[in-house]
Amino acid sequence: MIRYLETFYRHRLLLLAPVLLAVLFGVALVGVRQPMYESSAMIWLDGPAMDTGVPANSTLTLADQQAGVISELLSTHAFTAKVAQRGGLSDYLQQTNPQGGWLSRLRSIVGGGSGWSVSVSGSDQNGIGDAAYTVLNRNLKVAADGPQIVALSFDAPSAGVAQSTLRAVIDQFSDETLDVRRAQSQTVVDFFQQQVTDQAATLSAADARVAAYAAQHPKAGSTDLTLVALQRSDDLARQRYEGLLSELDQAKLDQAALNQAGGTGLRLIDPPNLPAARVGSTSTLVHAGIAGLAAGLLIMLFCLLALTAADNSLHRPEDVRSALGFRLVGTIPRLRQARP
């Protein structure tokens, strides 16, 4: 232990330099990173916005299911492309060129994990689409924040882009939901429309049969079993027709309701905010400093072990007997050079 302490104090500048450099390097890395702004929003779900196919007895809450739906949509290029176009993300990616200067290049290296450092040329729509896909998937966070609330947040180098993109995600999700619901509703209306038409024909035929029988048998009364049977069939056809008509009206009502506000079953509780401050700059700095310190200490420890192992000279009087086996008859302390 004393050997290591001696080595440390003998080479203290050499050993402490990596620690200091690692801390400075970590802090500098954070310092040159792009500033990021986070916009967040919350959605209230009145009912399943989109059918997820999850069984009714599932332990997943409504918010869990719809958060999963949003995440699935984000994994499609079509959805992300629409969001990018809608929120201005495409324009931002087109205007931002990380190859512009040394600082931008450095930032693209440091901040490579966030996806904002991708380089696209002005006319490369596929490149912009891919970049938007990457950016959205790496910077948009979706999570259930209760049984009926879904929380969304999006990080971007610009506060405006963060807000507008998050707004676009919610709007696009709402539109997708509405489109699906409208399609489903139209299918229902079409179905009942066909049923009503068919039943109307059946009813007309039943009415005609009753009228024809009454014309052929003018004296037939309530005791005439055939007339009673025909009237009974006619009544059933009419009841069926009226039931289908009622179902059709309801379907049309539901279809009309989709066009009203709140028709998607979503309500925006907290709209996307315009962030005023950078995301976690202080905490990130602290984390980078701690990480640098840990790395520097590891390097220092390695150097300390290597220096101690490499030093095979005698330092202390007790080393003479243990290392050489010779008798020590005296020691001369290190003398400091007298200043003239």
């Binding site: 330092h315 008859v329 005296g330 050079q337």
Partner: protein, 227 residues
């Protein structure tokens, strides 16, 4: 980096031994303690050597000579035997020649080669033919001239060449009653010391030069490495 003690030896040379140089005192103290352990007033001859150059060998040899004179009042002969890199005479301000080379060639007598260095201390240099070192050493050992030179003195202190830098250092070391190996702390590799001392006829005593602890005083006391 050499120890900064040699500058002060100029103050010692040719001056009464009552002069106490301030920085050389730790060296003299160490030599004094070492002299006692090496036989003190009964010591007849002492060869001071080292593994490599720059370990403080010549300084310790001078210190041992002074201690023998100061502490025990003995007549001391200081012999310079580093034929390949002589410098003791220049350092002490003594005449370079005549010396051992002239003595072995019969060009000078014993009385002529002994230069008074300080009160009670005589100095014999290697002389003016350092290139013929091996020949001179062989002649010295064969003729018994070393014994003849030291006959008038109580103790002979030899400044031997470094063991790994000279072909005949071991021969010269074996000619002395005791051998003192000066080791520079934190500088001389252990394997080199072991290599150098493997061929010595007797086990040398060690004087560790330049000992220092880099630990802060409080930590040294805590770990027990500082007393």
């Amino acid at each position: 980096v050499r120890q900064p003690e040699l500058r002060l030896l100029d103050e010692i040379s040719m001056r009464p031994l009552s002069v106490d140089p301030p920085i050389a005192r730790p060296i003299l103290d160490a030599c004094s303690g070492a002299a006692l352990q090496l036989g003190g007033p009964t010591l007849k001859s002492l060869g001071v050597t080292s593994t490599i150059r720059g370990e403080g060998r010549s300084t310790v040899a001078i210190g041992m000579a002074i201690v023998q004179r100061k502490d025990f009042g003995r007549k001391v002969l200081l012999l310079e035997l580093d034929f390949e890199n002589p410098g003791l005479a220049l350092q002490l301000g003594a005449d370079v020649w005549p010396g051992l080379a002239e003595l072995t060639r019969g060009e000078a007598t014993v009385d002529q080669v002994v230069h008074p260095f300080a009160d009670g201390i005589g100095l014999v240099t290697v002389g003016a033919a350092p290139s013929s070192g091996p020949r001179t050493v062989v002649d010295l050992l064969r003729s018994g001239a070393l014994s003849d030179i030291g006959r008038e003195y109580d103790v002979v202190v030899g400044d031997l060449p470094p063991l790994l830098d000279s072909n005949f250092a071991h021969l010269l070391a074996d000619a002395f009653q005791r051998v003192l190996l000066v080791v520079r702390a934190g500088v001389t590799p252990l394997v080199r010391i072991q290599e150098a001392t493997a061929a010595l006829g007797s086990e040398p005593a060690v004087l560790l030069n330049g000992v220092s602890s880099e630990l802060p005083r409080w930590l040294g006391q805590l770990t027990g490495s500082l007393s």
